[in-house]
């Protein structure tokens, strides 16, 4: 696989090398300096989240001060935010959007990726270029006519305009799945054909089981992308509060529902948890993917 283009970001099982014995004093100093910088970088990335967490557990009064460390730990803040805003409603909407979109993406993108990766047909290269073009297009470019159409159908104010496209076409997922499927040796496909499998049977019995890790990774990216989406929900459900997703609702918390920093940060922290959990999951599924196919192309 050459394609450095949007390689799945987790594509690096950077094998930690065995610690080499530093040869001399300069080597030791070098080692210490590099690791100090590395540790500092890690801390730099982690610190903002740490502050969010520390602020979230402060008392209302302390959250307004410049204290960095909470004097009392108010764990109940994480529970109380559910009374201040209809978080369960937003959570339900977010899950509806993300889960349905991911399911739809799997139905529509797996066959398309298979046709682009493993079947030979005239126009395939053009089709692939169109997929890349669609992937690069800022969503704002096509927003006006799409909003116009959904609005004339009376479907703005619902999540349907966001979910429906995934059941037909999602450029990034098709691209990613195609890259995964390219790594499956052609000999498996040919063998299936010799055994008399139809194209559909080859896809379902050979390709899908072999591409499982890639499919899992693509599904996770799709879930995270929709979970994090702000422009789409803002465009179609901005006026209808009952349809807000967590991401959209979060943008208004600091001003509307919640004045205190501690509550705002508690909600911020809660919306980041799925990403953290999914990351642990995704890392595993990806490493599996590499060992499974055993081909790096």
């Amino acid at each position: 696989m050459t394609a450095t283009l949007a390689k799945p970001p987790l594509d690096v099982p950077a094998e930690p090398e065995l610690p080499k014995k530093p040869r001399d004093v300069r080597g030791i100093l070098n080692w210490v300096a590099t690791h100090a910088i590395g540790l500092a970088l890690g801390l730099m990335f982690a610190t903002p989240v740490l502050f969010v967490f520390l602020t979230a557990v402060m008392s209302d009064d302390q959250a307004f001060t410049s204290n960095l460390w909470p004097t009392e730990w108010h764990w109940e803040n994480f529970v109380e935010v559910f009374d201040k805003a209809p978080l369960f409603q937003y959570l339900f909407n977010s899950l509806t959007y993300s889960l349905l979109a991911t399911a739809g993406m799997l139905l529509s993108s797996i066959p398309a990726a298979y046709a682009l990766a493993k079947l030979r047909w005239r126009g395939r290269n053009v089709a692939f270029l169109l997929v890349i073009g669609a992937m690069m297009l800022p969503p704002q470019v096509v927003a006006v006519p799409l909003y116009d159409t959904w609005s004339s159908l009376g479907l703005t104010g619902t999540l349907l305009p966001l979910i429906a496209p995934y059941f037909l076409f999602d450029a990034f997922s098709i691209f990613l799945l195609r890259q995964f499927m390219l790594t499956i040796p052609q000999s498996y496909v040919d063998a299936a054909r010799v055994d008399g499998c139809s194209e559909f049977q080859t896809l379902v019995r050979i390709i899908v089981p072999m591409a499982k890790p890639g499919i899992a990774a693509t599904a996770l990216f799709c879930f995270l992308f929709t979970w994090n989406d702000y422009f789409g929900p803002l465009l179609y459900t901005g006026e209808v509060k009952e349809q807000w997703t967590l991401s959209l609702a979060l943008a208004t918390f600091k001003g509307m529902h919640i004045v205190q920093w501690n509550s705002a940060m508690a909600v911020t922290f809660l919306t980041m948890i799925p990403a953290i959990i999914l990351f642990i999951f995704a890392q595993k599924s990806f490493v599996k993917g590499i060992t499974f196919t055993g081909v790096k192309g």
């Binding site: 969010v52 006006v144 559909f200 001003g255």
Partner: protein, 324 residues
Amino acid sequence: MTATLGARPAPGRGRARARHRLAVLGFMAPAIIGFVLFFGYPLVATVIFSFTKYDLINAPEFTGLDNYLFMFKDPLFTKAIQNTLWFVAVLTIARTVFALGVASVIARLKSGVGLIRTLCYLPSLAPPVAATLVFFMVLRPNGGPFATVLGWFGLDSPLWFSDPMWAKPGITAIMLWISGDLMIIILAAILDVPQEQYEAAELDGAGPIRRWWHVTLPTISPVLLFGIVNSVILALQLFTQAVVAGSAGSGSADSTGSTKYLGFPDNSTLTFPVYLYTQGFRYFDMGYAAAMATVLFIISFGVTIVLVQRMRKGSAAEEGGPGA
């Protein structure tokens, strides 16, 4: 790139060939319909709308080039272009250099690689809205952790998202915090550099810095180019962070109805997509928004062409196989 050899039905066997065609059509049908509905049609319609005056209620009214001519008289359009160009220039360089720097450090680590890589990558998965609020809280000038730490050294914190000078650097800081995906891609490229090349350079007496400059950088340059193009696209699309920073900064934080916060402070965060959104979906001047969308389309199309050409070159070079 391997396995581009596809299965081809044996020539002369009409039925098999027809079945193969039917299979391809079946697999591609949803994608073709989806592409036409959600990209093909709206792209054409955007261009058509751009020559009209349309408010979503009354029928579109043909106005020729009025929308395009108005751009030249619209100070906010100029401001939005300037803001987006600022991000294209600064964000592209900062993000690529930053990701390269962090990846180069991580690549040299002997222990703790997994942990530090995870710490650097995780923020990029956070919802952009959350990431923006995180920075808004950490950087708030009165009592925020960053201001507090600066205070220990007797320094004053900038006003960040309340100061037209500092709002864009503040958004850039957010974008660097969530640039972990690019870091991981660059790190993978660095770790792919063949070890022999380093050993050869070491024999020639090159130290670590010269090895990095003369071996690592040239070898991973295709990936760096990808990083640059990817960052340009990101900068052109910058929307969420700008809207959320503007609304949080203005203190109104109202995602519905009000338009006063967009671009706060002093239109310094009014990026091109934000202005397009404001005109189209707050003022319902769909014709003008469509004209801006057409401009945005032409620019991103140009960037995409650059990327596709690089990919073609990249895969051709790979097949030639320069020792790799």
